[in-house]
């Protein structure tokens, strides 16, 4: 086994920014808006770096698909402890329609090319909330998947994953190579401090085009419209219980 882990990181609008919809409802305003690494991707990078620190894997490769600015996201991953980066350059129209299907095709091609033992991704991106890339990548590679991982431990050539599911926690054991997706409680991502960022400048980021990997980026989806969620109606305060019952009767709920 090569002991190489591929970690996918996505550049998204920062979680603390208030999202605004474009006036023509075609999308969300991204120009001049603060971007950062998807929080679940941070958790994925942290897990990969932890595995390397425990000497269970040898190399952590951070991958990002997007325009030039995605390199900043890869640099953050390098500052957190990844060894090298791969920037798959996708820009313009292709980037606007880039979705989980295209990214999973890219990741699958890269995994084969880099002989990866594990692919760790965030469970979903906070901008599109698809929660599909990990699952699609595993399917394309025909690899087992441990999704919504809240605990990961390696046992030889197998991985024990504790998954967060609706009913509670599920523990599974899967063979490597495998795909894992990180859930919120998997670990506490370290902060990329300034000294680490300076050190990371020496690490290499390779530039790759999707065509080099033989991936077709055409999207099968078309975004028709983007709308803001409905405004929350202001609540009403009532003085007595009788008033409350009366109001409920008025609106036909009682």
């Amino acid at each position: 086994m090569s002991g190489r882990v591929l970690v996918g990181v996505k550049r998204v609008i920062d979680y603390a920014v208030k999202i605004r919809v474009k006036p023509d409802n075609s999308g969300v305003v991204t120009d001049g808006v603060k971007h950062s690494m998807n929080p679940f991707c941070e958790i994925a990078v942290e897990e990969a770096v932890k595995l390397k620190e425990k000497k269970l894997i040898k190399e952590v490769v951070a991958v990002s698909c997007g325009p030039q600015q995605s390199q900043e996201t890869i640099r953050t991953a390098l500052a957190m402890g990844a060894d090298r980066g791969i920037h798959v350059e996708v820009s313009g129209k292709d980037y606007e329609t880039l979705g989980p299907l295209q990214v999973s095709k890219i990741l699958a091609a890269l995994a084969k090319k880099e002989d990866a033992q594990l692919i760790i991704l965030g469970k979903q991106a906070i901008d599109d909330d698809c929660n599909q890339t990990g699952q699609m990548t595993a399917a394309l590679l025909d690899w087992p998947q441990g999704t919504f991982a809240s605990e990961v431990s390696m046992d030889g050539a197998q991985v024990k994953v504790v998954r967060e599911i609706d009913g509670g926690l599920e523990t599974i054991k899967i063979n490597t190579p495998a795909v894992l997706t990180a859930d919120l409680r998997l670990n506490t991502p370290r902060y990329a401090t300034l000294p680490n960022i300076m050190k990371a400048k020496k690490k290499k980021i390779a530039n790759v085009k999707p065509a080099d990997l033989g991936v077709d980026l055409t999207s099968r989806l078309e975004v028709l419209r983007v709308d803001e969620p409905p405004q929350r109606q202001a609540g009403m305060k009532v003085e007595t219980v009788e008033d409350l019952v009366e109001k409920l009767r008025d609106t036909g709920m009682v």
Partner: protein, 83 residues
Amino acid sequence: MANPLRAEVVRLYKNLLYLGREYPKGADYFRDRLRAAFTKNKSVQDPEQIKAMIARGEYVARELEALYYLRKYRALKKRYYEE
């Protein structure tokens, strides 16, 4: 300031400045207070005292990292997990 410690102090200052960019009350607020705190102690010569202050500065850096992490964790927990 004692020579080897000077480099450490400058490194600490740059680190805190970098961390302060995401401060909830604003990067400028943080930067002003950071500068005030460092200039107030500009004349201290005793290396022991300087080391103690550097340790305190590093403590503040760790507190900031914890603040940012908790803020992010709580925001994501609220958004994605129905309690």
